[in-house]
């Protein structure tokens, strides 16, 4: 193996990350009772996005691994979002 020493995350850091995720879940559930109307979806998606980011960066190790993975992941997400966006060129104006 030519790669440098792998980064080892401590148990504690995992627990912290998990706690953050659970708190965000709690917020997300709580927010729905607030009757935000149309903002509802936006907030829920933002929170989910934040959670997904946390999972990607810490659990999936993007922070410590080869930067290539981060670039690819961002690129893939961008492609997906663009596809979604372009599709809505149709549905928003039908």
């Amino acid at each position: 193996m030519s790669q440098e020493k792998p980064h080892i995350s401590s148990y504690r850091s995992h627990v912290f990350v998990l706690a953050a995720l659970i708190v965000l879940t709690g917020i997300s559930v709580a927010v729905t009772t607030l009757e935000l109307g149309r903002l509802d979806t936006l907030v829920a998606m933002l929170i989910a996005g934040a959670k997904a980011g946390i999972v990607l960066v810490w659990f999936m190790h993007l922070k410590f691994d080869n930067k290539l993975y981060t670039i690819f992941t961002v690129l893939v997400i961008v492609v997906f979002l663009l596809v979604l966006y372009v599709t809505f060129f149709d549905y928003s104006y039908r």
Partner: protein, 205 residues
């Protein structure tokens, strides 16, 4: 990491294996991505029905499953840390917990689905067909999306069992743990998907 019987060169490339796993994860992301696209389109076209549909689902069960998956994600990650440090016992325990949670998740799903199906709320079911188009779509998507997600959980369980065996047999250890790492990545993906499924189906009104 596995060498080829026909080939003289022994070539192990953990980084390559991980890259392969990431690429596979990308295909999965787009696969689910397209389901999200379908969902987005139909939600946009049937806002009321989707809202009402969402209210039919059990937020408590959904939240429980979310938390369960998050915990299991953390335990796989910890199991990787453990193996990296050479703590075989810890790794096995964490992995065991993950496995257990995965099974519990499926059991919850079983009860959740079961209750709906009993009322005839399944694709092609009488009770569902009597409702409006938007509701049919909502539940169609609900079954398809959580169903495909559950399929991934099943595959994950299979992988966990395999990896568990391998750790026990010392095939996976502190200098060769790419199988565990890739399984972990896969499991995080399953979690990632659920992070979006949960608010989309259970929360937003």
């Amino acid at each position: 990491m596995e060498k080829n019987a026909e080939h003289t060169h022994v070539h192990r490339d953990d980084e390559g294996d991980k890259l392969g796993m990431w690429l596979f994860i990308f295909t999965e992301l787009l696969l689910f991505g397209m389901l999200f696209l379908v969902y987005a389109v139909y939600r946009y076209r049937n806002p009321v029905a989707f809202q009402l549909g969402g209210e039919e689902l059990d937020v408590f069960l959904g939240t429980l499953n979310t938390v369960l998956l998050l915990v299991s994600s953390a335990t796989v990650a910890m199991s990787i840390s453990a193996i990296q440090k050479g703590l075989k016992k810890h790794a096995l325990v964490f992995l065991g917990i993950t496995l257990l949670i995965a099974v519990v998740f499926l059991v919850n799903k079983y009860f959740e689905w079961g209750a709906k199906i009993e009322y005839g709320f399944y694709p092609g079911g009488e009770a569902l067909l009597e409702l409006g188009h938007g509701t049919i779509l909502f539940f169609g998507l609900y079954y398809v999306m959580t169903g495909i997600h559950a399929l991934h959980i099943l595959i994950g369980i299979g992988l966990f069992i395999y990896v568990f065996q391998q750790i026990r047999a010392d095939k996976i250890h502190s200098t060769d743990y790419i199988w565990l790492e890739n399984t972990g990545l896969y499991w995080h993906l399953v979690d990632l998907i659920w992070i979006f499924l949960f608010p989309l189906f259970y929360l937003i009104h």
